[in-house]
């Protein structure tokens, strides 16, 4: 992936074809109508506890979203590493829901089958919602099991997992709720409503 820096923007290394004119509008429709009010004060980047692990800071993503730099955004790790701690949303002087922007971008990335930058995080969210879809509630051992199978990360946390079982931290069975059908119908209706 081409890394776009402030310097490369000033050197005009990128041309108009790098931008998707309708992208910002799609983001705005997903619950952040005031996306374009960002004036790059950088408070979101300064306060973000995950910024050091991200490829772009939240403030860079904000600018890129406004400009319509769809490709770079949908391939970035930033949108998946946002932990929704809401520090940025709380501090934004323009009252933009910055964490909500990250959510909207995840949604768009999933819609377009992207998210390879943090495949495990992306798959975690999918598995999570599949279980909620099937049962109406989360059942943690199912989530752990499916996640481990999908990502093949069996070695990671094996000892901790053993301890959790020994301490009876996990409940292995709970009945499906009566409203599971209703939850499924809600998921279908929300999906049909679509994102764009």
């Amino acid at each position: 992936m081409r890394k776009i820096t402030d310097a490369s923007i000033h050197r005009r290394e990128i041309d108009d074809s790098s931008f998707d004119g309708g992208f910002a509008r799609r983001v705005r429709r997903l619950g952040v109508p005031n996306l374009s009010r960002c004036y790059q004060c950088l408070r979101c980047a300064a306060g973000c506890p995950l910024a050091s692990a991200m490829d772009y800071t939240p403030s860079q993503i904000m600018r890129m979203a406004t400009l319509g730099m769809k490709e770079e955004i949908l391939d970035s790790s930033t949108i998946w590493l946002c932990a929704s701690c809401m520090t940025c949303t709380t501090r934004c002087p323009m009252e933009i829901d910055v964490a909500g922007v990250m959510d909207a971008l995840k949604e768009l990335a999933l819609e377009e089958g992207r998210g390879a930058a943090q495949k495990n995080v992306r798959d975690f969210h999918r598995i999570f919602m599949n279980i909620v879809r099937a049962r109406g509630r989360m059942l943690e051992p199912l989530l752990l099991g499916h996640y481990k199978l999908r990502t093949r990360t069996f070695a990671q946390d094996a000892r901790l997992g053993g301890k959790m079982v020994a301490k009876r931290k996990l409940r292995f069975y709970s009945p499906k709720i009566a409203g599971a059908k209703k939850v499924r119908a809600m998921m279908d209706a929300a999906k049909k409503k679509g994102t764009t």
Binding site: L30, G31, P49, L50, A53, L81, A83, S84, C85, M86, T87, T89, T90, D97, G100, D103, K106, E107, L110, Q118, N120, V121, F124, H125, R126, F128, M129, V132, G136, R137, L139, E140, L143, L144, Y147, Q156, D157, L160, K163, M164, K167, R168, K169, L170, R171, S174, I177, A178, G179, A180, K182, V183, A185, M186, M187, A189, A190, K191, K193, T195
Partner: protein
């Protein structure tokens, strides 16, 4: 924290939304919350057939669904004509966000009515159980029930993110320096120390997927707690608890430095002499009984039993 109609009259019954974690990895939080509320004469009626609020994945997948899932629970509580008591900070955040969106986004409101299918008019609201204890029950009522004060226990209160942020949604009056849990600890006789990571992030839902990042954040929080010579960290969120309790030993250069991490309700139960406290603490990864035994808040276990004593 919240100024709602319920705070004006001494409401003593709430719809209870435990959420998924409290049925499994944080069952000690569920049990201690129910026990403490019962001891204080507050009735919690579990919402029949509640569904997952979607935290922390639905909002990554579909913004409409992320609002619809919690809204069904609000609708079920409205049928009970009760405000909701929510012990989980993540569930609390999703329920409050749904309320907020329902209020603020008229387009979404109509779509949601259709999708959820159950009527919700915004007559009931979600309250965090800590907020209910602090504002409705009151610390005087808590103080009256304390039989084994936690004198000498040096705690730091860790509120984390979602209990307070964003204040527009949660109604928190001081999101940078919340004090309700600190004052609660003092009411129990414990010390509550001033520290600088009260509302910092533990990495939340990245625990499984990016354990490296979570460990780094947890190590910072633990170091800040040790800096003020705390003996224990107190939380009000099952995700914060899971991360701090399970990731702390692995995140520290010396695992034996790990501080025990309590739910505030567990410490209330200990101070109120509620039975079952020791069994809840036995579920923790970082041994949590010893500091309470030392100050006489928990009866000492017979030496012969295995440390942790889960069996």
């Amino acid at each position: 924290m919240n100024a709602t109609a319920a705070t004006e009259k001494p409401a003593r019954k709430y719809a209870y939304y435990p959420g998924c974690s409290l049925g499994s990895s944080a069952s000690e939080y569920d049990h201690s919350t129910r026990a403490v509320f019962a001891a204080l004469g507050v009735e919690l009626e579990e919402i029949a057939d509640w569904n997952c609020c979607g935290a922390s994945s639905a909002h990554a997948l579909n913004h409409t669904l992320a609002t619809a899932l919690p809204l069904r629970n609000l609708a079920l509580a409205e049928a009970m004509e009760l405000d909701i008591a929510v012990p989980c900070a993540a569930c609390f955040s999703r329920l409050k966000t749904a309320e907020h969106r329902f209020r603020e986004e008229p387009d979404l409101k109509n779509a949601l009515r259709e999708i959820v299918g159950e009527p919700y008019e915004g007559k009931v609201t979600a309250r965090h159980s800590l907020d209910i204890l602090f504002n409705d029950v009151g610390l005087d009522a808590v103080r009256e029930k304390v039989t084994r004060p936690l004198t000498g226990l040096r705690t730091v209160c860790y509120y984390g993110c979602l209990l307070v942020r964003p204040p527009k949604v949660t109604g928190a009056t001081d999101p940078d320096n919340p004090v309700s849990m600190d004052l609660l600890m003092k009411a129990l006789g414990a010390e509550s120390l001033d520290w600088h990571m009260k509302t910092d992030c533990c990495g939340a839902g990245l625990s499984l997927t990016r354990a490296d990042i979570v460990s780094e954040l947890v190590a910072k929080i633990a170091a800040a707690a040790r800096l003020v010579q705390a003996q224990a960290i107190v939380t009000a969120c099952p995700m914060c608890h899971a991360n701090l309790d399970m990731r702390q030993p692995g995140a520290l250069t010396s695992p034996s430095d790990a501080l025990p991490v309590y739910f505030y309700t567990e410490l209330m139960a200990a101070a109120m002499g509620i039975e079952g406290t020791a069994a809840w603490l036995a579920k923790h990864i970082v041994p949590a009984a010893a500091p309470l035994e030392e100050i006489g808040a928990l009866p000492r276990r017979p030496r012969a039993r295995r440390a942790g004593g889960a069996a």
